[in-house]
Amino acid sequence: MNDQMKKQTTDAAFSVNAYVGESGFADIVTSAIEAFAVCADAPSLENAKAKYLGKTGAITELLKGMAALSPDEKKTRGAEINRVKSSVEGALNARRDALANDALNAKLASEAIDVTLPGRGRGTGGIHPVIKTWQRVEEIFASIGFDVADGPEIEADWYNFTALNNPPNHPARSMQDTFYVDMNGTDGLPLLLRTHTSPMQVRYARMHAADATNSGKPIKVIAPGRTYRVDSDATHSPMFHQVEGLWIDENISFADLKGVYTDFLRRFFETDALQVRFRPSYFPFTEPSAEIDMKFESGPLKGKWLEISGSGQVHPSVVKNFGFDPEKYIGFAFGSGLERLTMLRYGIGDLRLFFEGDLRFLKQFS
């Protein structure tokens, strides 16, 4: 306590005594409130308290003076003194609380941190954008009941070509330049890196047909995965990803293909502002076959037709290779490039970025 404060406290105490008896008790209360208010900490407040409530304090003195009074006066005056006492005590407690509060606030203020500093520890990594697309495609098709399948990437000629109605030497084989490996399959033909995910149509459908519990159930499956072709430039990679889709049932038509794929693209790009067109084409394993083109109605790619997928009604010979009766079962298949979908989705111009493992690229998708 500094000298100035001591002096004030002392003055207040004296002035209280000066009023006793003549000016009523209200002044004691007022002076006590004032005296407490100037106390800046707990010890000075205890000192000030002593001036009123201590053994020689003003109120104690008043009580001492009661002995000389008549019972009636004692009664009246006693009640008044008690009122004063409790008012002073109230003021004291309020001041104590305020001081404690101030002290806490001061302590907390001194503990303040810079909340703008970055959090401690490691960041979170991220999923590759093509895989993000893969996952989104799975989720969209799962929402209408498609299963997901995957299988070998080193594949037998029969599954990659012949079962898909594309026998050796067929001109359609030149549509897909094939990597071969130094091993032969059980048919004596060299094994190859699958040129598309379409062999999974055959593998999945045959597994489905072989399982008696599936009898009468439709085939609804997508098969995303890695595929390979002898090709390399800004728009072709020797390795890329496709997603194959297959829906076979008793009555799945080309019109259904149009419906499903159009709906898929609108969900994938999260806009109805895109047009989809189906253009006659040729694939050995579908007939009728269609190239699917899409066109955005807004955004940077607005107005351009972009090839997005090959598709068609599954060829009856292929349905037969599935182990199904093509008279009874029909349906569609499609194959889309996941890189292509990803590039259009995020506006990526160069296919090679996907395979460089450059963190500056990958971090943009986390």
Partner: protein
Amino acid sequence: MKFPESWLRSFCNPSMTTDELAHALTMAGLEVEDVAPAAPPFTGIVVGEIMTREKHPNADRLSVCTVNVGSHAAAPLQIVCGAPNARVGIKIPCALVGAALPPGADGKPFMIKRAKMRDVESNGMLCSARELGISDAADGLLELAADAPVGEDIREFLKLNDSKFEIKLTPNKADCLSVYGVARELHAITGAPLVPEAKGAVSVTLNDVLPVKVLASDLCGRFAGRVIRGVNAKAPTPAWMRERLEKSGQRSITALVDISNYVMLEVGRPTHVFDLDKVHGALEVRWGRAGETLKLLNGNTVQLDDKVGVIADERAVESLAGIMGGDSTSVSDDTQNVYVEAAFWHPLAIQGRSRRFNFSTDAGHRFERGVDWETIPAHLDRISALILEICGGQAGPIDDQIVNVPARPPVTMRIARAQKVIGVNIAADEMAAIFTRLGLLHTRTPQTFTVTPPSYRFDIEIEEDLIEEIARIYGFDNIPALPPMARAAMRSKPEATNSLHDLRARIAAADYYEVINYSFVDESWERDIVGNGNPIKLLNPIASQMAVMRSSLVPGLLANVRHNASHKADEVRVFELGKVFVRDAGVADGALSVEGVAQPLKLAGLAWGSALPEQWGATKRAVDFFDVKSDIAALLPHGARFDSAAHPLLHPGRGARISVNGAPIGWLGELHPKHLAAFELTHAPIVFELDVSPLLARPLPDFKLVAKTPMVRRDFALVVENSVNSDALLSTLRSAVPAHTREIVIFDVYRGAGLADGQKSVAIRVLMQDTERTLTETEIEQACQTMLAAAKAAHGAALRV
């Protein structure tokens, strides 16, 4: 295939703009890849004739010409010209004053003004083909035909208001590999009338026949030819033919070659013209024989065998059947007598052959897809008539042998089936109209159509082929996009299985970025880094660094570090989920397997550089084994063990094999320092590779009641030899008092002052509890003593005091 629009319209001319025409073809399956104007825009250029030519008085290289431009000027124009071929009498393109030449690089047309060149007035400009933008050749003035009408606009005269179409044809559209074929299709699409093919009228004035024996009916189904004598091989190709060839992307060569090419483009008929005088004796058509060779027109010499068809004479093989002619009997400027051949080669006898020899030809491309056999004589007449017209000569009769042409069995299409497959109830009458427009002869019942395919169609064998034709001409755009109808069955992801995406999300959450690396790698990676001396090799890799299939994902991740380190990254954490490929005689053909190859899915990851990104709140230190061990702990199945083990990729003292129930499922460790140099690294990353399949099981939680009795904690430090591994120590302690031990944790490992060399102190916290009651002090003390005794017995452990 390329061709000028005007040529197509000469056969079928629907009232459509160029763009509409291109769109109509595209939407019928003949994808128009490009439409380019035949010439860039220009105006004011007409046919001129040089009347006089004088040397320029002030310039050696210039000449001063007067040029007749007909009605465009009252008198011949004086024009200064620098071209060396400027001479009196030739007709050339003349740009008049005011003409706008094709735009230059700045996009602005070049305007012709009256000018003085070295003091001589010039009133226009004589032009080369390059200046008109129709050719890159800058060989002087473009000399026009002698009969070019003076004064005619050059765009009209050269038919430059035309477009060049480029169509990408699918392998089934063999019938459209000609302008006439496309016209036939255009007729079907639009209904615009189709002009009949040009007929060649040939008067036969010779009796000569070149004897031909067809010895292989599985190679050649029909063979026809004719002798033409007395041709002028030096005759120029007429301008109209040159123009069409050039706009079709074919360079004009000699008249005989051009005529053959022209007929191929016009009607899709490949033919071959032999120099008759170089043919020795009769021809035979047969399979090749091992040991035979043939020098081709393109100069290549090919080795033949019995898989390749040939045409041979009495001395040698003269032609690769259906693909390319031979060098020795090819026509030249001196050729006088020719034999013109047109044949039907079975597609199966041609397919794949030119690819075997590593080249492709227009003829082979057509024959392997199928060429009409019925029109052979008509087309032979067409080419003969053109030869006679252009080169002169006398024609012999057509010698035509039909050996074995394909059957064309009728194909039946059920109307209801077509409607079901397409998903639209197209009316039967409309189907009939479509077949008629396509030229498909058919009979009809209330339920079916039966079509006899024409000989030019090689893609109509089954019902679906007809359904496709209906859908295509009906228009895919006119087929509705139906919302799919299916039974609403609920589906759920199995809770006890992680999906691959779950795995990815977990490892990504530990700050790893996913990468996708090529499945084929440099052979040295496999041999020197992974230790696989016998990787699966590609037979046709595109580059040596992509020559073998990888058996580990890790080298690719190391290359990712190199790449990012070169871009100043000081922290790299990446992972990849992908298949690896290993020869494995134990793998049989199966539903999802290919004999001899194991193709398991792996998850590999790598951490390199600082353990945490550089930050204010943490001290910088390098990532180590234990950081990554904790990162992958969340992925591993319950009970996974880490045991010290050697691995070719790893530091011998800092690598672990990870196993579950004794079966190895992967490994983790610090890269062996010997591999750093190959990836230009100065310090070692921590790498791991795990089999994915064991990571996919996620057992349902096995709930146990939470005990209400108090948990007791005891800490003690055990001194053991350094060689005692902590897993074994914990295991001993745990099994010593199994009933009450809830948790045993190592919270410190200390080596140094106060301990002997080769010793370490392991600080251990034990939590004990009985689920039924509170443990007594005595019980706790006894349990501790039991544990200590067990540790002492098994590991020589002493309580540190």
